[in-house]
């Protein structure tokens, strides 16, 4: 018995077992359930076990699905681009311009302050700010910049993306900052000794070395935005839809099978996107 337990093979399996069990019970099993239910059918108030392609047929047969997926990608792409530029800049500033470690920590904590409140509150607080008679419009009017309140500030794609950027930029800052801190400073000196300008160092040395951080941040932001439904609902005033809202509408109306089918397609889409991203950078090798 003792010999069996001491065999490295068995120890390895035993050590891996708790995590495997947890993941199997709380990740794999629910996903398998969702896939199974996506083939069921539903009436107004009950779901019926079956094997039917009806949910998928409706999903792929409806023009709305494509429009909504396109919209989801649009939100993800724009949010990704904006958070990347912002996140990279902030991380760069923190990592290379702030010399004292105390200040680095202090400024980094400053970035996390908004996260001390719930993200719903952070999001909703934009509504009175951007409204027709909100602070933004009244300030602009009193400064004489505009005569009429800007209608597109609230309940528009603009406000949705603004909220996304506000909510998720930190997810970009943290991993990028982290990889930047690991860059060997002597590489920068070497670049400068070899006559590289500041921009050349940034482009040819720092950027390639922070790729893993950028990739991790991107995965965070893209999966968060693609899976969101509440931000889109509140900030667009329910006027815009993304895939998350399709799913939540279905759930509200007890159409679990159809919600599951949409969820399965969304999951596949997100996995595919991440797969493509990982092809670009081998995170494990570079970390």
């Amino acid at each position: 018995m003792e010999r069996i337990l001491k065999s490295p093979n068995v120890t390895g399996w035993l050590l891996a077992a708790p995590l495997t069990l947890v993941l199997a019970a709380f990740l794999v099993l629910p996903i398998v359930m969702i896939v199974i239910v996506s083939f069921w059918t539903a009436t107004d108030f009950s779901i019926v076990p079956a094997f039917s392609w009806e949910n998928y047929a409706f999903l792929f047969g409806s023009e709305v699905t494509y429009r909504v997926f396109l919209n989801t990608f649009k939100y993800a792409a724009i949010t990704w681009a904006v958070t990347l530029v912002l996140g990279f800049t902030v991380a760069y500033f923190l990592a290379f311009h702030v010399r004292s470690q105390t200040w680095q920590t202090a400024l980094f904590l400053l970035c996390t302050i908004p996260f001390w409140t719930s993200n719903i509150i952070r999001m909703i607080s934009w509504i009175p700010f951007l409204g027709r008679n909100g602070i933004a419009n009244s300030t602009l009017i009193s400064l004489g910049v505009i005569d009429e309140p800007l209608e597109w500030l609230l309940f528009s794609d603009f406000s949705v993306i603004l909220a996304f950027v506000h909510l998720y930029t930190l997810f970009m800052v943290v991993p990028i900052f982290n990889t930047m801190m690991r860059i060997d400073r002597s590489l920068l000196e070497a670049a400068s000794d070899a006559g590289a300008s500041g921009f050349q160092t940034l482009w040819n040395v720092i950027l390639p070395l922070t790729r893993p951080g950028i990739m991790i941040g991107s995965i965070f932001v893209i999966t968060l935005v693609m899976g969101d439904f509440i931000t889109v609902r509140f900030m667009s005033g329910s006027q815009a839809a993304n895939v998350g809202r399709l799913i939540s509408n279905d759930i509200a109306l007890l159409q679990y099978p159809s919600a599951s089918a949409t969820a399965v397609v969304l999951l596949a889409t997100v996995l595919l996107t991440i797969g493509i991203l990982l092809r670009l950078v081998d995170i494990r090798k570079e970390l």
Binding site: D44, S62, N71, N133, E151, R245
Partner: protein, 421 residues
């Protein structure tokens, strides 16, 4: 569960006592046991009020717990989790969906003391003998079943009710008179380009489509066979008109919760929208003018009632009947009427309201003095008249009842397309 606390013997005793109690209603033999009973009620926010639970404890002695959910969640729970509640406080259109599951039990009207005083809308379907029955899921059409254990609906007063009516009202559009500055008389105004970017409609498909239908019919674009049970063609044409308006930027936002509708109106983002009566008063109580505008095409109405879980039996069931009788005996009615709703048995509520309150809320008379809500906030000053007037004027002009359609699934998909458009 509480029920298990009783042995078979005490349960039998309880049943016997309950039988006695219903035969001789006044002295409650089981008065000692009743304080141990907890009834779990759930429903939409409108009538799930903590004040009611407190008063139940005072007047009847047992405990009533309340859970408030949105109407989708209520439907879901009533249909799928019959063990999670004792009393379902639901709307009649939800009842149409839930009743066939057998999760609710029929109620014996002979045990309902004030049954004869319940307004006609919930019995024959007619407010007065002359009135016509409105379109949609009119409460009386799903209010009765064939007998105990029945899963069907019958059209006559069979003596077995599915829900005991408790609360109802007539809904219309809310407007900001100060920002509109002219009279509004018709549902068509919701799509009037004058209010481009300042209109809103609620994003709850089953009710939203009805408001949309009121507008389309008022515009003369569509004539419906039954707005509460549209054909696919009618749904398509209704949604086409609204999609076009949405694309043209008519709507500022859609709302899903009570608070959203209040904020949209109070902030001036929206000047005309579908709205519920207490939302109007919430806007008004902030000192912002807001009118629940009566419109010439009539109201979209809704009604709610109390249903009993099929699992309820013995002493708990008797307590539930006691609760229902208490509910209709006037105190709750008065409480609800002071918020602008109507009670199913108005005459008993009258005893719990001042003459001024009764005159203002029910008879449509000018207020003789300041009208306050149950929380003590001023709702109207002396001389003001309720929007829409008296009970008969408002409930007599119902054009359509909230409903669930045969083409519900199709409608929901079309509504989703409208939101995504």
């Amino acid at each position: 569960m509480k029920k298990n606390h009783y042995s078979r013997r005490t349960l039998l005793k309880g049943a016997a006592a309950a039988g006695l109690a219903s035969a001789f209603p006044a002295p409650m033999i089981w008065a000692q046991d009743i304080k141990d009973i907890t009834l779990r009620q759930f429903g939409t926010g409108v009538s799930n009020l903590n004040e009611v639970a407190q008063k139940v404890k005072e007047d009847l002695g047992f405990t009533l717990t309340m859970t408030a959910l949105d109407s989708d969640a209520v439907t879901q729970r009533a249909a799928t989790q019959p063990d999670s509640f004792d009393i379902a406080d639901i709307e009649y259109w939800i009842c149409k969906k839930v009743w066939p599951t057998g999760n609710l039990q029929a109620m014996d009207t002979s045990k309902i003391k004030n049954y004869d005083k319940i307004v006609g809308i919930f019995r024959s379907g007619k407010l007065t003998p002359e009135s016509t029955v409105a379109q949609g899921t009119a409460p009386h059409t799903v209010g009765f079943t064939s007998g105990p254990g029945g899963k069907d609906f019958v059209q006559e007063e069979s003596g077995w009710m599915t829900l005991i009516p408790t609360i109802y009202n007539a809904d219309t559009l809310g407007i900001r008179p100060d920002l509109i500055g002219r009279p509004i008389e018709s549902w068509t105004e919701l799509l009037n380009p004058e209010f481009k970017g300042k209109a809103s409609i609620l994003d709850i498909s089953s009710i939203g489509i009805m408001d949309a239908a009121m507008v389309c019919e008022a515009m003369g674009e569509i004539t419906y066979g039954d707005k509460g049970n549209m054909t696919r063609g009618e749904i398509d044409r209704t949604m086409a008109i609204f999609t076009e308006a949405k694309k043209a930027g008519q709507f500022r936002a859609f709302w899903k919760t009570f608070d959203e509708s209040v904020n949209l109106m109070a902030s001036g983002e929206v000047v005309i929208q579908s709205m519920w009566s207490p939302a109007i008063t919430a806007v008004k109580s902030r000192g912002i003018p807001c009118v629940y505008q009566p419109l010439k095409e009539g109201y979209r109405s809704w009604g709610g009632g109390i249903g009993l879980s099929a699992r309820l039996d013995g002493l708990a069931l008797e307590a539930a009947y006691e609760y229902i009788n208490w509910y209709l005996s006037g105190w709750v009615g008065g409480f609800l009427m002071r918020q602008g709703y109507y009670s199913a048995v108005p005459e008993t509520s009258k005893e719990f309201m001042s003459e001024n309150e009764w005159g203002y809320w029910f008879e449509g008379k000018p207020a003789a003095d300041t009208i306050t809500n149950p929380q003590g906030q001023a709702m109207a000053q002396a001389g003001e008249v309720r929007d829409g007037g008296s009970f008969e004027e408002r409930m007599g002009r119902v054009a359509c009842w909230n409903s669930v359609m045969d083409e519900n699934q199709y409608m929901v998909r079309k509504w989703n397309e409208f939101i995504a458009a």
